[in-house]
Amino acid sequence: MPFNRKPQKFNASIREVEIGVGEKAIKIGGENVFPFYTFDGDLGNTPKVGVEISDLGLDNPVPGIAAYYEGCTTAAQMAKKAAEMEGADFLALSLEGGDPNGANKSVDELVAVVKEVAEAVDLPLVVEGSKNVEKDSELLPKVAEVLQGKNVLILSAKEENYKAIGAAAGLAYNQKVGAESAVDINLAKQLNVVTTQLGVKPESIVMNVGTATAGYGYEYVVSTMDRIKAAALAQSDATLQMPIITPVSSETWGVKESVSEEADAPEWGSREERAIAMEIETAAADLVAGSNAVILRHPQSVATIAKMIKELA
């Protein structure tokens, strides 16, 4: 019996969202097939890879990262260097130094870093908050304000602070809003619903549906992304048709496989190799589960994932 191709056709598609301005602006989403199902139809825009830098600079870096950023003393210098990385589509600036339980940098201090970085690079910018909901609802509106006209993606508005961040980023200053929920399709949907009710256009929303490192309860992530894409495409659920961005590195670089020094765990071998492996494995899994963009740190991870996308798409 001859093989008959039966493409799986959907009448719905993922929304296309543009981040950044000018020549280097990127578009994510737009597909009406499951991730990398090129045999079924149009993939829309290929998934994009971002390089993450932090306002705190490098904290106990592995040799590969330390070498890559050698000589950089400011966030702007690091941003410039990161933007040159092979495979980088966008830059992600983490403002983790704003966390009141950490360095607790002031909003003004962080906004100055943001400005400096934005001026240094022309790559599309994604700004990640401090992960503290109160601080972010004060910090991220200011970030949205100073980056007017740059069309950046602000990560993230959560259930607790979506009003402040959604109104500032999505309405007042015309940026893109990242809607972050914790690995649960219904919470993701609910946040999209209330954010659009606020007046933010659906085409200005990118979801961060949460992630984990592969091996750390990661099945939930796959199941959530899978179900979101299925609901968006097969059931035409318009409230779940926003593209997904997944900050991978902030998760994977914190697990013991990436943190333990070789001296403490000699049987595990090189820390750097382990950390890269964790980052690549997780990012690859996120992409095939439905992420439209991933955020990574190590140059080797960025190059590898970019190559994977190129080969598969």
């Binding site: 402040a164 959604g166 109104a167 399709i185 219904n186 209330v194």
Partner: protein
């Protein structure tokens, strides 16, 4: 003169002034002279928002005035008055714009005049989040300077942004009130036309935050009406110009509250002779709710104290409903009958009771709201237990008229009194149920005779009425059911369909709870399911229910029946209180509950049964359910109903006995049905069970086979 005539007259007067001001300006500067406000991309923002046309010079301004004239129709109709109000506002903007010609700075300390776009973008965020819950526009001269200051401060305390026009500014200045954008008190200007600068803020907000297209005046007014929580407080005396401006405000959805005896227009032009009540009247008229961020009591309030026990020796006073008359009650009333945040103590306070004594208490929380329903009363009331327990050093058990409250000596010594108890109830109800509660007041009774009287004459009859409503509510008498997908985080394809006679399988979500959850959180886990297209009413299958289940399970489930355990049974997450499974030897079913760890006649324990019942899959012959469902007439109705129950753990049997026996009596005429049901003291294997059932003549034995 009608109200319309007053508006028209005021409008005509302002129009005349505008016309001559523009003509004078043209004569002085020529038609090409640029006009506009500083720091705005919206040219003359009000005119631009309403018409979509940007005015940049005097020539265009003159043309614009011609357009304004077309709004000034003079029929004695509401729309004519509104449009004349808008026309008045636009004229005011033109007059104000002329003040800024040649880069002049017409406003100096303390006045602000025109507000820049940047301020609106900055203000927009707290307005959207509710951190600025409203915008007050205070106009004219208050009866006394003290009144003006008191009013401004009352709004300031609520986080409301205050803008002022006219003599109230001088009054506040004379008493040294600190004013300025930083403290959210913005004096706009001395002339009444300066009020346009706050209107300009509202309209630009619609363009920026509402994505309203300039010129789309219908969307513009809808936006300001629904999203800009502004209102006007206009002090007497009102002249025609103020009334005409007021008509403009009302057209945008902003109610006007005044102390002048004038025409009244419900919800729009409101007369409140007592200036000290302007705040409350305005908030109610504009439907503004103030966020409560902190509960003002002398001890801590946190969930950490929820399980705290107050021992007899540490106790200052005890209220014990099992010994003396006590009760707690939520009662919904008319909006006019409730004064928000009012507290009344009828009887002695805690410091008048002897240490360690047992006393009576009755507290009634009276709530009112446009969306409030009597059915929510018990939903709120059930939260009291958790609220009161969260107070440091206060213990609460029971509900309704069987409550017990203990207050510790330390908490008493910290100053905790009846008003603090009321404050906790007020603050929690207002913040948790703000979607439906607009106003809330608390009454506490501590005299034994009052408590006795109110308990028996008010509380108990109300509880009875509620119970009656609950028991008379059937699946047939309601129009909608509710979905509940709270557990999908753990059980992704499970959907509960909650009906009056079949509560959620966790036992915690009744139809009322689901209804309240839906009203309070419309995008939340409980959604309305209609039941208009029955497929098979015997097993409880509806097309609409199936559609909902398909949607909420993201396609994992195709169809469910509400009343059958064999055909398309409802799925279970894993939170079920009980599991019911068929027992083939007797044609019946056994039920076991989570608390019972022992063996069942099926040869499986609760946890073994749970592993095959949960996870959102349909397993014919098994289902998870709540305890209260056991006595329901809808319990596996398709297979014959409760008659099929042949075995339950003894404790569960005792818990449900009264209601189950009543159902069996009513439906089948069987007396003391539970006596026929086996338990672990009688049998944990099928043979012994069937022998027992035969001896008792259990009806299941003679019924059609289940399989």
């Amino acid at each position: 003169m009608t109200l319309f005539d007053v508006v028209f007259k005021g409008n005509d007067a302002v129009y005349g002034l505008t016309e001559s001001a523009i003509n004078d300006a043209v004569a002085k500067y020529g038609e090409e002279k640029a006009v506009g406000f500083p720091d705005t991309a919206y040219c003359l923002p009000c005119y631009y928002s309403v018409t979509g046309v940007k005015v940049t010079n005097l020539k265009e301004l003159k043309e614009a005035l011609g357009v304004v004239k077309t709004l000034m129709t003079r029929e004695q109709k509401l729309n004519d008055a509104f449009m004349s109000g808008v026309a008045t506002a636009l004229c005011a903007e033109f007059i104000e714009a002329l003040k800024y010609i040649d880069g002049a700075a017409p406003y100096a300390e303390p006045y602000y005049g025109h507000l820049a776009d940047a301020i609106i973008r900055e203000l927009g965020v707290p307005l959207v989040t509710g951190d600025i819950p409203g915008v007050a526009v205070i106009l004219g001269k208050a009866p006394t300077a003290e009144d003006a200051v008191a009013l401004v401060k009352s709004y300031q305390a609520q986080g409301i942004l205050v803008t002022m026009v006219g003599e109230c500014i001088d009054q506040c200045q004379s008493l040294g009130l600190n004013m300025g954008y930083g403290v959210r008190v913005v004096p706009l200007g001395a002339d009444v036309t300066s009020v346009i600068h706050v209107v300009s803020v509202a309209l630009r907000a619609a363009l920026i935050f509402g994505n309203v297209e300039p010129g789309d005046s219908a969307s513009l007014m809808k936006y300001t009406m629904e999203r800009v929580p502004a209102f006007v407080n206009a002090f007497a005396p009102l002249n025609e110009v103020i009334v005409a401006c007021g008509a403009g405000a009302i057209a945008l959805g902003f109610p006007v509250i005044t102390n002048e005896e004038t025409f009244r227009v419900p919800k729009s032009l409101i007369v409140q002779p007592d200036v000290s009540k302007f705040n409350a009247t305005s908030l109610e008229a504009r439907d503004i709710k103030i966020k409560i961020t902190k509960i003002d009591i002398p001890v801590a309030f946190a969930s950490a104290y929820e399980g705290e026990i107050v021992r007899r020796g540490d106790m200052q006073v005890e209220f014990d409903g099992s010994r003396v008359d006590c009760f707690e009650l939520v009662h919904h009333k008319d909006m006019s009958e409730v004064e928000d945040h009012h507290f009344e103590l009828i009887g002695p306070d805690f410091d008048e009771f002897p240490v360690g004594s047992k006393q009576s208490i009755g507290y009634i929380v009276e709530v009112a709201g446009k969306n409030m329903q009597a059915d929510f009363e018990p939903v709120f009331e059930r939260k009291f237990h958790s609220y009161i327990n969260c107070i440091e050093g206060v213990m609460h058990t029971g509900q309704r008229d069987m409550i017990r409250i203990r207050i510790s000596k330390a908490t008493y010594e910290a100053g905790f009194r009846a008003k603090d108890l009321a404050e906790v109830l007020y603050a929690r109800i207002k913040s948790e149920f703000d979607a439906v509660v607009d106003k809330c007041q608390v009454k506490i009774y501590t005299k034994a005779e009052d408590c006795t009287k109110l308990r028996h004459e008010m509380a108990i009859p109300m509880f009875d009425k509620r119970d009656e409503r609950l028991s008379s509510l059937t699946d047939e008498t309601v129009d909608v059911y509710y979905s509940c997908i709270m557990c999908q985080a753990f059980s992704p394809s499970h959907v509960c369909v909650v009906t009056p006679e079949r509560l959620g399988l966790c036992g915690a979500v009744s139809w009322f709870d689901a209804k309240a959850t839906n009203e309070l959180d419309p995008a939340g886990p409980c959604q309305v399911i209609t039941k208009e297209r029955p497929i098979n009413e015997e097993i409880g299958e509806y097309e609409d229910v199936n559609e909902a289940v398909r949607k909420f399970s993201q396609g994992a489930l195709e169809d469910v029946s509400l009343y059958s355990i064999m055909e398309k049974p409802m799925t279970s997450c894993g939170c079920f209180e009980c599991i019911c499974g068929i027992e083939p030897f007797s044609n019946g079913v056994i039920i076991t509950n989570r608390e019972y760890a022992g063996m069942t006649p099926l040869g499986m324990t609760f946890s073994e049964l749970a592993s095959m019942t949960g996870g959102g899959v349909q397993t014919p012959g098994f289902m998870g359910h709540g305890k209260h469902f056991i006595a329901s007439k809808k319990f596996m109705k398709a297979e014959g109903g409760v008659e099929r129950i042949v075995w339950m753990p003894k404790e569960l049997k005792d818990t449900v006995a009264e209601k189950l026996n009543a159902t069996a009596k009513e439906v089948y005429g069987i007396d003391n049905f539970t006596d026929m049901i086996g338990d672990e003291t009688i049998a944990t294997d099928p043979e012994t069970l069937v022998a027992f059932l035969t001896e008792k003549g259990h009806p299941a034995l003679g019924m059609d086979p289940l399989m």
